[in-house]
Point group: C2
Chain length 323, copies 2
């Protein structure tokens, strides 16, 4: 069973999902944001994890889409909070409609996510929903931490990693754990699935920060240096603020405080500061640590080697991405 | 078992509820809004309904509080949408903190509501959560309809009643139904509980509209005529717009369009128009219809007469309130 096969099954079910009808102002935004696409990474991981332990992976399709709907709910509400104009190149819901509609259609998406998660066998329901609810609360905690960090310049590496763990990685972990829960895997296995997904997720997020500065412009989809231009508090910047001292630190802070600057010059100058204190190597080392932990989690899982290979290969692609 | 006894049990459990700790910006607003009080009407109804069929009503306390947390979540998000400065005489969450914190702490409240509802027996979980999720989506639909009505002057009685049914009454119905579900009552009984609560809820909401105009100033807590001054689209105004014709209708519309006016004069004039087309009698007749339907639902329930009496007496108080 290849990832493409799982993805097709997800897209087929997604195209038939009914979110609700009346009033249209409440449900059109849900259909809209769900139609903007995305890699459907989380539900795909759920199906792969289910397939590790059972041929009947199709029973995981609807609960898996519950995670996808939840993920899109967080994007919808985050976009309001960030006042983001665009999502995947299209107007965000609060721009296309308004803030109130975006708040309320997001609320009903969260309810819809639970509705989809109800489609698991009765004896799995309590653990599936208890772990989902914990995870969902953690995602909100991560988003609040991220907002809190906007006005702080003393964020530590530990705090930053905890923020991305909560905001993005626990849901990747839960996506895999959900597959284990649905397939009836044992607690140890489910813990390895969760931690494996979480560790790969943290590495993935740190790699996002790294590629924005050190990605190959020919392969990287976006403009290299965008985070530097925007003073985005990435792992690299937080480390540079921790690692630099004296005049080098002052130079970094000056660049952060400049309101007018040549973009290329700022990117070159800040990158040069990063280079001087070895930020690239430090970040790569952390990324490799998290990836290694994640693969160790997967290795510890007792399942059909061919099926494990599908998951590991897919995780390997995520890890080795250049864009 | 008197209502006071149930309320004490609810307050005791409420005072011990843990919503979460970190970051405080996420969880302080939840503790704040939950501490503002309120009659705890919905969870009280759940306990009364549970007690109709079992002595072990205490097992319903936590799920009942899930409904209370959900209700307060809707108040929190509605207050953002309505830009309301005050809730129960205290600053609203978005005023005391900000809109983003209000959105996000509301989101985690909805998750917390589900967490509390997970505390039902395993064999009840699916029906409890499926019906809750349906109800929660309907509450959002009602709120969206209410917002849509703000810019419309052609709302019909049918649309208005459907809006209040969804926005407020289905949750009252579900509060009672939840008690039946937890106690293991049969489907017919649960339907009567739900519809009984819903019908009383609609009557209650219409009485709210009525008292704002025709309440006894000595007994009514707020200023009589507040809805008229604010052009609030109540059942009375919608009916008056439907029932008046010619010069009387023009007079009504003129009052609605005036941006400067003497408040008492407007209240007197609009009330006089209501009186001319019998709005008070019409509204009272509708209220009595819904109350009668609700009590007929309760009558159809097969349970210990003394225990049914506690519920009916309490509903009677709600119905006969003067403020």
């Amino acid at each position: 069973m290849s990832p493409t096969y799982f993805i097709d099954a997800l897209q087929n079910e997604l195209s038939q999902l009914q979110y609700g009808q009346h009033p249209p102002e409440l449900y059109d935004p849900i259909r809209y944001i769900m139609s903007l696409g995305g890699k459907r990474l989380r539900p795909l991981l759920t199906l792969m994890a289910t397939y590790l332990f059972t041929d009947d992976w199709q029973k995981a399709i609807r609960p898996a889409l519950g995670i996808e709907v939840f993920h899109n709910f967080t994007l919808l509400h985050d976009d309001i909070m960030d006042k983001a104009p665009l999502r995947r190149g299209e107007p965000t819901v609060h721009e296309k409609w308004n803030d109130n509609i975006a708040i309320l259609s997001g609320d009903v998406m969260l309810v819809n996510a639970y509705k989809l998660l109800l489609h698991v066998e009765a004896d799995k329901l309590k653990s599936v929903l208890a772990r989902f609810s914990e995870t969902a609360a953690e995602v909100c905690e991560g988003q609040q931490m991220d907002m809190n960090f906007e006005t702080r310049w003393d964020v530590t590496e530990e705090e930053y990693v905890e923020m991305i763990r909560l905001k993005t990685s626990v849901l990747v972990g839960y996506a895999l754990e959900l597959g284990g829960l649905i397939a009836g895997a044992d607690d140890d296995t489910n813990r390895h699935l969760y931690e494996g997904g979480m560790n790969i997720g943290i590495g993935f997020q740190l790699k996002d920060d790294l590629l924005d500065v050190y990605g190959d412009p020919a392969k990287f989809g976006k403009q290299v240096g965008g985070d530097i231009i925007a003073n985005k508090k990435t792992f690299l910047l937080i480390e540079a603020l921790e690692q630099t001292t004296g005049s080098l630190k002052n130079e970094l802070i000056e660049w952060l405080q400049k309101s007018e600057f040549d973009r290329d010059e700022k990117v070159r100058a800040v990158t040069a500061i990063y280079d001087k204190v070895g930020i690239r190597q430090l970040t790569e080392s952390r990324i490799n640590d998290y990836f290694a932990r994640g693969f160790a989690n997967f290795d510890a899982i007792d399942a059909d080697p061919n099926r494990k290979n599908v998951l590991s290969q897919f995780a390997r692609q995520l890890v080795e991405r250049e864009s």
